[in-house]
């Protein structure tokens, strides 16, 4: 049998043994042989950073993306139908236009009644498309199908987002604003370290306490709840706290509404809940609602400091103050969250368990995306483009100065359209989210570097808050017409662009001129 030249002995060993797979010393190198490049010595990442850019706290270099927190993300839409064939907290469903389409809704998703469910999704699509045709007259939907209307809506928002981003991308504050979520991630890490939790628990606490709160107040409340959970486990309830808890209960109307909260204070034997008494300690309270009552009452009755800080994306702090009508400047006080949102935060702190965390975050797309953006800021670089859309983010896309109760904001994020039970997709949020994703893709192509959707959102978010302060959002309650010149201009320009009287590239500049320019964020020290 012919020997295999690759395995046959190659001759006498230079070490004297008879043969072996060893190339003798002095063997000439074959001409034209492939030479592998010499590998570099292993780097110590602590001593030799891969990117030579200056390192800023909470800031990632532009071209370096981290997979941190990918495994801690939660689904950003949660269907709640009893007919589902799967646990929506285990599936990683994402909010986007695809979730609004009946053709995306397969029969494998429900145990029974598929035709009815699919029709429900199709009806919701038609309803949302018609809502856009009726209420967004400056979005040109003439002659378009339902699917075409959704596409045009995304494109309209996309154009405005790209325009505003390009206007402010070179401002001195924009680089920090682009990494806002890394700053939030770092703060979640600091809270986790201080209070002995995981980072995802800290991020979950922040997100669950975010509804109706500015970031700075939100962060302060997270700190207070985590402090109580960590450091007051053996504290007893004081008479002052009991009195305060009774005030919470008394704010409810006599009857079943009051009973729902009173059972946590006075006990509910059938549910195994003991009453809260002066002997009760935090650790012995059975239900997160009881612990939430404790945390809030302790803070309101005994906390030495109820003020809070303004926190920049890179972690610099300064005291939050307000100017009174008298001209005096005083420290602002952190107003508490509703007891049930505090209970959600405590549920997250009690158990580091992702399905528990996912449930505690609730159904709102914004809260769920906010959590994901904090816990895994670069997830979009790994195919998970979470995007936090709030009132300001909608104002960027529509380029209208709208407050939280404006009809279009209400439609955009909340309850307009149906079928959430099967798809978990609420209103026009999926379209706003897709507009940011598309804007990020466009800007990445234009600027030649990868830009993530959450970067686009946080930069334009700071810009729009400056462009549209609260006072320009006033509308006439009867007609819905804007009362401030900036609002009136934005509306007129939108119509002008729609009907071809104003070139889109000029509209934004005219609006910025009317508003007197875009000022830096309050945290920026220029």
């Amino acid at each position: 049998m012919a020997s295999n030249p690759l395995t046959a002995p190659s001759g006498p060993s230079p070490w004297g043994s008879p043969g072996g797979n060893v190339v003798p010393r002095g063997t000439p190198v074959m001409r034209n042989a492939l030479r592998l490049p010499q590998s570099e010595p292993a780097r110590n990442p602590m001593l030799n950073p891969v990117v030579a850019a200056p390192i800023m706290p909470g800031v990632q270099p532009a071209r370096s993306f981290s997979p941190e927190g990918l495994e801690d993300r939660v689904p950003t839409r949660v269907p709640t139908s009893a007919a589902l064939t799967y646990d929506p907290h285990e599936a990683m469903s994402e909010v986007g236009r695809h979730a609004m389409l009946p053709e995306h809704f397969g029969p494998h998703r429900v145990k029974s009644g598929y035709d009815k469910a699919r029709q429900n999704v199709a009806d919701a699509l038609s309803k949302n498309a018609q809502m856009i045709r009726d209420d967004y007259p400056w979005v040109n939907t003439h002659g378009l199908s339902d699917h075409g209307v959704l596409e045009r809506f995304i494109e309209h928002n996309h154009d405005n987002i790209v325009g505003l981003y390009n206007r402010v991308k070179d401002e001195p504050w924009a680089a920090k604003a682009a990494h806002w979520y890394w700053g939030a991630n770092r703060m979640a890490g600091e809270l986790a370290q201080r209070f002995g939790t995981t980072k995802r628990q800290a991020a979950g606490v922040i997100a669950s306490l975010s509804p109706q709160k500015d970031w700075d107040e939100n962060l302060s409340l997270a700190e207070r709840v985590m402090d109580t959970h960590r450091n007051r486990q053996d504290h007893a309830v004081t008479p002052e706290m009991l009195g305060r808890m009774q005030e919470y209960v008394d704010a409810r109307k006599e009857g079943p509404r009051r009973d729902a909260l009173a059972q946590f204070l006075h006990g509910n034997a059938a549910a195994g809940i003991a009453p809260i008494t002066k002997e009760s300690r935090y650790r012995n309270l059975a239900h997160p609602m009881q612990k939430a009552l404790f945390a809030r009452a302790w803070d309101e009755m005994h906390a030495p400091d109820r003020g809070f800080d303004i926190v920049s994306p890179t972690g610099e702090r300064e005291r939050a103050t307000q100017q009174l009508k008298s001209g005096d400047v005083t420290e602002r006080t952190a107003a508490w969250q509703s007891v049930d949102n505090v209970a959600k935060a405590i549920r997250i702190l009690e158990r580091d368990h992702k399905p528990t965390l996912s449930r505690a975050l609730g159904l709102a797309h914004k809260v769920r995306n906010f959590y994901n953006n904090i816990v895994s800021p670069d997830a979009a670089a790994y195919g998970r483009p979470d995007i936090t859309v709030d009132t300001h983010a909608i104002n960027v896309g529509l380029l209208h100065p709208m407050g939280g109760s404006h009809k279009l904001v209400t439609q955009g994020l909340g309850q307009a359209g149906a079928a959430p039970a099967f798809t978990g997709s609420h209103g026009l949020y999926p379209l706003h989210a897709d507009a940011y994703r598309r804007a990020a893709a466009t800007l990445s192509r234009q600027l030649g570097r990868r830009i993530l959707p959450r970067e686009v959102q946080s930069v334009t978010w700071e810009a729009i808050r400056s462009l549209f302060p609260e006072e320009v959002k006033d509308i006439d309650p009867k007609s819905g017409a804007y009362q401030h010149p900036v609002g009136q201009t934005s509306n007129a320009l939108a119509y002008g662009v729609r009907h071809g009287f104003v070139h889109p590239s000029n509209a934004l500049g005219m609006l910025i001129n009317t508003a007197g320019g875009i000022r830096p964020p309050r945290w920026h020290k220029g």
Binding site: S81, A82, A251, R252, R257, L363, Q415
Partner: protein, 65 residues
């Protein structure tokens, strides 16, 4: 069970107010939910202005269509 009705159990897992209402036998209506969560108008926690965020925070069966 009608599988196309709201799954109250699944919703209550995500919402302590709803869980409390189910435990206390509070009627599952929009008004009762708001009254349980925020108290009565004019009290401390009741929103001075009802915004989109408040609406969005309601369980979807209670949101205005």
């Amino acid at each position: 069970m009608d599988e196309h009705q709201p799954n109250w159990k699944a919703l209550a897992e995500m919402d302590p107010t709803l869980e409390a209402m189910l435990m206390a036998g509070t009627p599952l209506t929009r008004e009762d939910y708001i009254g349980t969560k925020y108290g009565e108008p004019g009290t401390e926690d009741y929103p001075a202005e009802w915004t989109r965020e408040h609406e969005e925070a309601l369980p979807y069966p209670f949101q205005k269509a």
